[in-house]
């Protein structure tokens, strides 16, 4: 799974969590919470949806690794790779 693939699946999750947001111009290197109206419960939704849709676990200590789309790709890449994806 490429970095772009991971960014897309995270963006797909965000689209469901924040359906009123325009995600067309998301900057991959800027914190998601600076670009979108996301609160802590929304952030937990991202973690939950990664678990439900992709079987990926994100321990609480690693939540900060999901701050930007770029950091998501960097952090989640090895986890998807470990699943053979």
């Amino acid at each position: 799974m490429t970095n772009d693939d991971i960014k897309k699946l995270v963006t797909d999750i965000i689209a469901d969590i924040a359906p009123d947001e325009d995600l067309s111009a998301l900057k991959p290197d800027v914190r998601l919470r600076e670009q979108l109206q996301l609160d802590s419960m929304d952030f937990l939704d991202i973690v939950m949806e990664l678990r439900k849709r992709h079987g990926i676990e994100v321990p609480e200590a690693d939540y900060m690794q999901l701050a930007t789309l770029d950091s998501c790709a960097k952090y989640l890449g090895p986890k998807f790779a470990a699943k053979g994806l």
Binding site: D16, I17, A18, P19, M41, L44, D45, M48, R51, K52
Partner: protein, 411 residues
Amino acid sequence: MNLSRIVITGVGLTAPNGNNLAEFRHALLTGKSGVELFETRHMGKVLAGVCKFETTRYQTRKELRVGTRAGSVSIYSAHEAVNDSAIAWDKVDKSRVGIYLGITEHGNVETENEIASLATFNNDTKFWSHYHNPRTVANNPAGEASLNLGITGPAYTLGAACAAGNLGIIHAAQMLRLGEVDFALAGGISESIRSFGIFAAFKSQGALAHHVDPTKASRPFDKSRNGIVVSEGGCIFAMERLEDAVARGAKIYGEIAGYAVNSDATDYVLPNPVRQAECIRLAIKNSGLAPEQIDILNTHATSTPLGDVQECQAVASAFEGHQLPHINNTKGFIGHAMGAAGSLELAGNLPSFDDLVVHPTINVDDLDPQCALPTLVLNQPKKVKRVDAILNNSFGMLGINSALIVKRYSA
């Protein structure tokens, strides 16, 4: 004690047959039902009263995703009530606004949904939603309205089974009189049809209505009635102290004249007509009106074989020796809206102060002799000479009874 006079200055509602008072009233005068077949988890199609209000009128899609159906009903009804009151909302001190909403129950829908979702993950609780608690706390419907409208005064629910719609209004009147708030949004709401449990329980109890024609299934006082049609809905009133309403030139729908709440203390589900009659008598006494001055009595009757008879006995007993008011029922149109029932049923009758028409009880093809009160308004609206006071009955499980009287406002 010199108590402030409390008036209703706005109405916001969603019913299975109307999404504002004008639509709802029109439906009640033209025989329009709101009952239809409704797909329910584990049970297939059941009969239910389903609301079709515009959910995104006052909520973002994200709010709808995070919140509950009850919250959505509350938010819609609260906004509509504020708008209808024509108060200068931007200038209102939101810390002096209270939200008091009656509920029959809350949390069953969200819990059932979560359990069903969890089953798809082998019941591993790490998939249980972090929204479960804020969705299921009993104050959720009022709390969501406070969040959406930026109201920082007290916002909570009152659990009172199917008497709850009246209880919300009564509680608001008390809080306004105590000076706890200056403006109240009060009534009742229900999302019950989204829970299979309520249908299954009524079915197990032998109290769930069935009929080949959904619009005929809820038929209070008819000989062939066979149970309750469960409905969703909401009705919230804007309420104020009279002096505040007059000072801002508000339209006044009616004045709270009196009320009573009591308990049967006899059974979990079966009503007690003796206590119901006591409640009605006490409300009339507290209103300062004579029984003959009550012009319309809206019954709670839910279309169950026993309950309807018992309420008729209670009404006959409460008015013994006096002229009976015109008697009607709203559930034939919309089914039983649970926590919203009392408020919706009151709202549906308030226009009678202006048009002097009593909306009927529909679906009575063969009046049960045990329910044959002589002043029942059956199947067709009735034009009358006077409507100055309306008494609204709402009763609930565990034996909670309420009677609320609203009278025509006159200075």
